[in-house]
Symmetry: C2
Subunit: 422 residues, 2 copies
């Protein structure tokens, strides 16, 4: 199995001013393709340490992938380092410049002259087409080792990696087989899951289980490696099936599925439409639903009612309810969700109201308190459910968890799995 090192470049990464999402994306893609990622490392925009890192990486792995430092500005020096390490000069490529000019023209903008830098590549490099930006990917080889330099802009890096590089690696290396299964769960914390799973799960030799917690829930990841695809697939199916049986409705999907994609698929399957009424999440539920391409088939609208007044005007919540029980209450959540169903004419509605923090709490209602409600009609009857959640103290995390909890609650409603009906 070929080994790889992923190097992310930029003062902004080493100093922490940019979050590096590139190395994880690259690692995921190339390890799924059967390449072993041995190291990640990062270095700033300075020539000597960059050269040094490129040299040591080329000595310890078969494949080095770098991102960043290919832009047109003065602080972008990856090509300078490549020229030094590989002992080659820069060559001008007219076809690259033409391509950039055309893209600017299509947007109705004159290309800034500084982009001429982007047409210079080290001699002997293979260039990898970038259809989203001006920095092409660069592939250099020496002594059986490969170095690939990709731009740091995530969308550009991803497109080049998927469209150009992975197919090239598949041709080039004789890759080991890897089987991987993701079992995605929502509604149970990591330690509860571990108590249910860890001592009992049948894990064949060579299969590893990892718990990956997110604000949406916990992903359970199974990985098996080997030379025989059939054998590793058999080995991984046993614990995968066991997890699904053991955890039941806590499991919402597998690899590539999200709460919003699963909910979207269930709505489509039921030919049903959806509206949301959001207070604490303030648009995060609808924003996630619309992440899924084609959401317009089932998603109608969201009532983001942050003020009391808007809850009354847009959703018909009674001011008496707000006065007696407060905006964060089961009663308000239920009136919100009924209002959303009625005003939108949707088949399903979901609502949330809570205290995100840091302000807004009192003795009875702490920061992190959230009420989620769902409404729909079944056999001509209006059904509603409401559930209380108590999250933590961080404003943003509370809002993300409320959003995920609402999507999960809607999923359970769509599956007829809610039993606390009123």
């Amino acid at each position: 199995m070929p080994s790889a090192e992923i190097i992310t470049i930029g003062d902004e990464i080493v100093s922490g001013h940019s979050v590096d999402t590139n190395s994880s994306f690259i690692a995921r893609k190339i390890s799924s393709a059967g390449i072993e990622v041995k190291y990640h490392s990062s270095v700033g925009d300075s020539l000597a340490p960059m050269e040094e890192l490129f040299r040591s990486a080329l000595s310890r792995v078969d494949l080095v992938i770098t991102t960043g430092g290919l832009g047109p500005t003065d602080d972008d020096i990856t090509k300078k380092a490549l020229v030094k390490v590989f002992g080659r000069k820069l060559i001008y490529h007219d076809e690259i410049l033409k391509d950039i000019e055309e893209r600017y023209a299509a947007r109705g903008i004159t290309m800034p002259a500084i982009n001429q830098n982007q047409a210079l590549l080290p001699e002997g490099a293979t260039f990898l087409k970038n259809r989203l930006g001006s920095a092409v990917g660069i592939l250099l080889e020496r002594d059986g080792k490969i170095l690939v330099a990709l731009p740091g802009v995530p969308a550009e890096m991803k497109t080049i990696l998927k469209e150009e590089l992975i197919p090239l690696f598949n041709n080039r290396f004789d890759l080991l087989q890897i089987a991987e299964r993701i079992v995605r769960t929502s509604g149970m914390v990591e330690s509860e899951l571990a108590e249910k799973i860890s001592s009992e799960i049948p894990l064949p030799d060579g299969v590893k289980l990892a718990y990956l917690p997110h604000t949406s829930g916990v992903d359970l990841r199974l990985v098996a490696r080997g030379e025989n695809a059939d054998m590793i697939n058999d080995a991984i199916e046993q614990p995968e099936g066991w997890l699904k049986r053991k955890l039941g409705k806590v499991v919402y999907g597998g690899k590539g599925e999200t709460l919003e994609s699963v909910v979207g698929a269930l709505l489509k399957e039921n030919k049903a439409t959806l509206a949301t009424a959001e207070s604490m999440s303030a648009g995060m539920i609808s924003a996630r639903i619309v992440n899924v391409p084609g959401a317009s088939e089932y998603f109608l609208q969201s009532f983001v009612t942050y003020s009391d007044r808007s809850k009354i005007d847009a959703l018909g919540v009674k001011s008496k309810t707000l006065k007696k029980f407060g905006a964060v209450s089961k009663e308000t959540a239920l009136e919100m969700v009924k209002g959303a169903l009625e005003k939108s004419g949707a088949d399903y509605a979901i609502a949330d109201t809570g205290i995100a923090g840091p302000a807004g709490a009192n003795d009875e209602k702490p920061v992190g308190l959230v009420w989620i409600a769902v409404a729909y009609s079944r056999d001509g009857e209006l059904i509603t459910h409401a559930k209380k959640f108590l999250f933590g103290t961080d404003r943003r995390i509370n809002r993300e968890r409320a959003t995920s909890a609402a999507l999960n609650f809607l999923r359970l409603a769509l599956l007829n799995e809610l039993d606390d009906s009123k």
Copy 2:
């Protein structure tokens, strides 16, 4: 200046199944405190390579900070590696377990027994209180070198770092002075900015400028280092002032400010309220506005009108307008924003409608086309502005850029900087 290496631990990181946001956060915090981050590295959940990495890190830097592998489950083995590298045994700490039990009790949940593992620490360790979770931070010292192990859950790591660790470092090291300025811009791409700036900006020796592009715009970061705080502050103020004068209204703020926090501050200053009408962004604008604590002072509600029907019902958009000009048009954007202003009673409203992709485009209206509109009244007169944007082909990036463009358009309206009034 003490040097540091940040190590993130976990198979999920090396294989890319988790995005590592921890190392950038830590790097930012400790480099602002005057510690030089020399390396970032990552290693999986396997004992031998983890020990090896801990040993080499302790040999090449003064301070090693690790995150991850401190959870209660079997795949968490950071403490095992520490025990080996430092040659110490694990000691049980009753006070840590009591603290965890109390936190579970406060949430009304019985503590899963597996959390007893969390009370075991290497002998001689200083523990760093974690008020958000069950894994405390661990600080070990040997031969003048320090290793700190922090939990991998970002909120927990951040809290321990800010509340416990940075104050400890400030006492411990004689730190170099660093001056940093962030000049945040919106509405101009990196290469345009570079053409305006790079050949002209007066950069004193030792001051570095970096361009950091995001979907919100481009941050310009100036950094100066030295022993004398007054000297480096003087050196950095010159290019900072130059950038602000040169770029004018393109600059929206500095370090720690976001488009939504700046817009929030302007609304508060004007004692004005806000509503949004969102189609393509589908709640992302309101979700970002509500990111700012205290947004309830000025934010009333959002009309997320994804379907044509909801644009008509919730905002009073005319069906004739939708038929004649389409949902993605200047006319619809203007009717949406007027509807939002009127129905909410807010002082300002902002609207967006666009084609996020991949579907929905036609010959006249490509993917990436967005109309943004703003409305408010001034001296009793209704003022509206609308502007067309053409972004790229990626659904999520298009929606993020539309959201930022809308917030920036609102900012310019609040500053009286829009001149295309109709």
